[in-house]
């Protein structure tokens, strides 16, 4: 199992686009042979609660936790995540913060979804 936590700024990404992003991320994870399924937590940050540079934020955060992978697999996946986000939302590269962080399979299996 791979987990993906997304922070979206309220009002920026329509629900149908969020659905396409989830499907696209799942496809990427499968293509990268990281897992067959992704456990998502999509968190909409209410207006006035997300800030970048001290001003209202337009940045999305996509944080993937997965079993450890070599960097030569991580980098293309990060690029693909950012490209997916930009193509579906129209955001700039500076408006997507993507991470793929390693965590043990035991930790992933033990995590209770919210």
């Amino acid at each position: 199992m791979v987990q993906c936590v997304c922070f979206l700024q309220e009002g920026q990404i329509p629900d149908d686009v969020v659905g396409r992003l989830r499907a696209g991320i799942t496809d990427l994870v499968r293509s990268a042979q990281l897992a067959d399924a992704v456990e998502f937590a999509v968190i909409v940050v209410p207006e006035g609660q997300g800030w970048t540079a001290g001003a209202p934020s337009t940045t999305s955060v996509v944080s993937v936790t997965a079993p450890p992978i070599p960097q030569e697999r991580r980098v293309p996946l990060l690029h693909a995540l950012c490209d997916l986000w930009m193509s579906h939302t129209g955001c700039k590269a500076e408006e997507i913060l993507a991470t793929i962080m390693p965590v043990s399979q035991e930790t992933l299996d033990a995590t209770v979804p919210v």
């Binding site: 940050v45 609660q49 997300g50 540079a53 001290g54 990060l78 500076e94 991470t99 962080m101």
Partner: protein, 140 residues
Amino acid sequence: MPLYLCSTPADDLTLDARQRIATAITDVHCEETGAPRKFVHVVFFEQQQAAVFDLLTPEAAPNGRCQLYGSIRSGRTDDVKRKLVTGMRRAAAEILGLNRDDVVMSTRDVDAKWVMEGGELLPEPGEEAAWLARHADVSV
């Protein structure tokens, strides 16, 4: 990156207070690290959204009136991290009218090679100059 999370009691913060805290966190981070402001993110959660906070901060349980949690690029010295924590706790306490002990804070190092922002991996410590030059003119 960095990404700072701020957890407060429900309905405790006005928009003005959130903006002042976000600005103060940004100021402290940039003063202590030299990072560009446009990559400093601050997200607020009310403590009724604790499950959200716990999702990204598994080792830090809310135990104060205001909790700050920073995911920062690895490679910062202990002295810099101490200044970040001290400065941000002081600022948040002043804005909220709290004792500094009522503001708790922890940080987590995140490897640069795990993070992409601005379409590139974050620079490793000591390799910031070229990366910053490439991103100098970008406005968000």
